[in-house]
Each structure stands twice: as structure tokens, then as C-alpha cells.
Symmetry: C2
Subunit: 259 residues, 2 copies
DNA sequence: CGGCATTTTGATAACCATCAAGACGTGTGG
DNA sequence: CCACACGTCTTGATGGTTATCAAAATGCCG
């Protein structure tokens, strides 16, 4: 399933989706050395506390996540990353990673030399803007996760997670194939929304019984999107997807302004 | 209590704390028009959904917070901001605010013209780096809040919040006066860590009975810092405070590398 | 001094965690 | 191709943490 998409065009396309690039920008990007790397499921790309590595990576194909472990042995997944997402801006400017980065599925990354990318960001305003936008959206997503975990019940949390996943996959340009499958185990879902896998199981079968979701193998699929949106209190404003990029009115997950 | 500290030196000092500035950088900063503004307690600086305003602000004195409201009427505070913190990088690059910004105490902000700051960030690599560092640390804090809310019980959550507050105030250079007072109501504390004010009350009196914290008026004060750190599973790595900036070994809140 | 926000306390119930054990599936190796 | 092993899912029983509701006490501010 993961394609062989590791060339510079990936990076150009990613940045161009955020901001208009000039010829000089594109030339500069193409001049930066890139590498593609493949990762097995569950492979660690970075560990908490590790000093910056040589590369700053973005997801080429597949899915990644970041998580932190608590002293008590608990685990909290703090973010999910779809193709096109940068994984570790921290590498560029901070002295240590504050969380673990792990492959959720078999995946590939496009690895950019940190020093070169830092130059690109700091010397080319358009590229700098594009990365700023990415980082700020990531921060907004993180805040919404906090809200989700802090102020919604288990049912709404799961639904909200799924809604966000669908909108982000669409915005990333991943073609839909009878819905998007979220390939997480029930334990991983629990770790993402702050409940136990046992409770995830019970809520999931309730949702399936209601027809809100479908379940296949190790995956979840959105069923009734409109119902999902209201059940999950989902308002995609925080994803800052441009209306142009958000496909299909009436699909139940429009990007509107409503409060 | 809030001083009259709105001149450019505040901004220079803030940025210089993150990265070494050259003469040209400082000159550029000093050339940017600044304004100081005062806010009453509970005043809204920004509302969710609002388009970018003219100014990007940083806290001069006092405390601010950001929060989001849920459809069900709940409220989640997603961040707390101490003097020196930038409040809304989003203004610079995104089309709408994704959460509300509100004054926790009477406070002042240093307001920087957005266009001018954007120029500064994109044209001056050192200044760009400084803001990147700030934004990345803010993101790391947001992730830790997610962990706190998702995977710790009410007692540890409160203690963790207090520990973080102390370290951040110290790092911000706020002089300590028999400990730092966190001036939040029990309802606000509940909204920050995802529990109800009633439960906050019960946990708070337990903590006070143990001597872990002191309570005065509408404030909380750290008592036994070493005990706090372990009770809150607090590891300040994620705050990325440079060891040099972290005062006083043995104070119980050292910035170490331990997992 | 009065009004209002905040804190406090108690009683009850909901939601979710925990523990345990069995069923199911999926991938691997013989 | 089958058998086995292991991860994942499922289910039940029980208990704990926290929410909810209500009301009184306290303290702050004008």
C-alpha cells in the first residue's frame, strides 16, 4: 500500500498547499537533500529525551503517532499524523524530544536534513510561513484533544477522534475508498482519548449498533457522518482547512463557521 | 502590582532569553511600533472564530489563559500564560482564532503590529528562531496537559499543574515571594484539569491537610516541592527550561534529565 | 452593610476502571 | 495446509473515582 513517493515533489506539494511558492523557493527546496525511509508498524522514530537527530521528517505514507508514558505505567497518545504531516519540528530548534514518535502502521517518511531545513525556514519567507502554518495547526489540534479528553464523555471522544481523522485524511488528499479506515486497536484508541480498552470496546459496539460506525478487522470506519458530527460535538474550525480544500458540501463534515 | 513595563526592552529581553541577538536584530526590534494595553480580570482578548486582529500580543504582567467551550456548556482551559509568553502566534499566520483568550488576573500586554512582527520573524533568522522556540515549547506544554488530563487522577493533575506553574514563573524571572501564588478559583482549576469544582474542593483540602500546598484567599501556594514533584509525576523536561535559567539546585524542582 | 461569587458539605448516582477469563483471529512456522 | 501462539476483542462482576444536585457557610467587594 505505501507508494514510492519520496522525492522532493512531495515536499514542494506539501508546502505549496499552505502558501504560494516562488520559483526561487522551489529551487531552494529541490536543492535540499532528501531521503526516504520505511518503518515497520510500531517502530520508534524518536524517543522521549533523545537529543535532536540529523533529520526532520514528514510522513510520506501510512500513519504515525506521538505518545508519552506516565510513571504509573499509563500511556497517552498525544497526536496522530497523516501523510504530509511534519513529525518533529522540535528537532529543528529544541535540545531534546519531549515525547515518543512511533509508527501506527507500516509507513514511510521523507527525511530532510535539519540544518538544511532550518536554513530554508529562516531564509525563505514563504517556506517559513508554510511551516509556521503547519506548526500552528498542529498546536490547535493539540488543544482540541485537550478539550476532547477533558470535557467529553467516552462516546463523544471516540466519535470526535474519528471525525477529525476523516477531515484530516481528506485534507491530506488521501483518496477515499468507501470511507477512511482508522487502523487503531481498541487499546490504542483508549490511549488516545484517556480511557481503558475495555470501555472502548463497550462504547464501540454501542456505536456500531446505532449505525454510527462500521468495524472491520483492526479498523474503524465512519458511518453516518452527520450524526457523527453532532454526537462528537465536532466543529472543524480548529483544523484550519481552507474551504476550497474541504471537499463536497453536504458530506456531513463541511468546514463551516458555526459555533 | 502590574508594573509599567511596556517598552521595547521587554520584547528584546524576551527574545534574547531564547537565542543570541545581533545588533541588527535589536535595531529591527526597536524599530517596531509597540503598544501597552491593560486588561481587567476576566476580559476577553480574543474570541474563538474571530479573524486576526491587528496585534500579536505577549503578556507583560499578570496571567492569561486560553479556553474553549463545548456544546454541552462545559469549558476547558487549554493553556495558562505567564509574563513573557506570546499569546497568539496564530494571529500571524492563520485566518481565525480557534479558542478564547482571557485575562486570569488584571494584566497588561505588549501589543506588536502583526505585519511588522511577521516581517521580523521571516526576515531575521535569529528572531525567527526565538519565536519558533517559543511556539514549540508551547506545543510541548499542550501535549503534557493532554497527558495530565488523560492519564492521571484528580490529585496528581492538580499537583502537576502547580509544579508547572512554579517552574514557568521562575523561568520567566518573576521574583518569588514566599512561593508563587496561583490565583485561580476552584472552578477555574477544575476547568483546567477536566474535573468539577466540587471535586477540586475536596482534593484541595486533602492536599492542604497533607501539607503539600497552602491555601490563601483565591490562591494556591506550593508547600513541599519535592513531595509535589513526585505526587504530580512532574518531570520538567517538556518545559525545555535551560539548566542555566533554572534556579537553585535542591529546591525540589530541578530541571534534570531523569525519565 | 448588602449582594454576589466562591467555598464547603452531604447524599446519591453515573461513568468508567479494574480484574479475570474466555473467544476470536491473525500471522507464523513446521 | 495445519497447528499453535499470541495479540486482540469480548463479556461479566465489582468497586472506585468523580459527577451531579442541593443547600448552607464563608468571604470578598462595592
Amino acid at each position: 500500500m505505501p507508494p514510492e513517493d519520496a522525492h522532493p515533489a512531495t515536499v514542494v506539494a506539501k508546502l505549496a498547499s499552505r502558501v504560494a511558492l516562488g520559483a526561487a523557493d522551489i529551487e531552494a527546496i529541490l536543492a535540499v537533500p532528501l531521503e526516504m525511509r520505511r518503518w515497520n508498524r510500531a517502530a520508534y522514530l524518536t524517543r522521549e529525551g533523545a537529543p535532536p537527530g540529523r533529520y526532520c521528517r514528514l510522513v510520506g505514507s501510512g500513519l504515525a503517532l506521538r505518545h508519552k508514558l506516565t510513571v504509573a505505567g499509563g500511556r497517552q497518545i498525544v497526536s496522530l499524523h497523516v501523510p504530509g504531516d511534519f513529525l518533529d519540528f522540535q528537532q529543528l530548534f529544541l535540545a531534546a524530544a519531549d515525547c515518543n514518535i512511533q509508527a501506527l502502521t507500516p509507513m514511510s517518511t521523507v527525511d530532510i536534513d535539519c540544518a538544511a531545513l532550518r536554513e530554508l525556514v529562516l531564509q525563505h519567507p514563504n517556506i517559513g510561513s508554510a511551516l509556521w502554518i503547519d506548526a500552528l495547526i498542529e498546536a490547535a489540534i493539540s488543544r482540541e484533544w485537550t478539550v476532547n479528553i477533558g470535557r467529553r464523555d467516552a462516546r463523544a471522544r471516540i466519535v470526535h477522534l474519528l471525525c477529525e481523522f476523516v477531515v484530516r485524511m481528506r485534507a491530506a488528499g488521501i483518496p477515499e475508498n468507501n470511507g477512511y479506515e482508522l487502523p487503531m486497536t481498541q487499546e490504542q484508541i483508549g490511549d488516545a482519548i484517556g480511557i481503558t480498552s475495555v470501555h472502548v470496546n463497550r462504547v464501540l459496539r454501542m456505536l456500531a449498533a446505532e449505525g454510527l460506525i462500521r468495524r472491520e478487522r483492526r479498523s474503524l470506519i465512519c458511518g453516518d457522518l452527520d450524526a457523527m458530527r453532532s454526537a462528537g460535538e465536532f466543529n472543524p474550525l480548529y483544523l484550519h482547512v481552507s474551504p476550497a480544500a474541504a471537499p463536497r458540501e453536504g458530506s456531513g463534515l463541511d468546514v463551516g463557521q458555526s459555533t
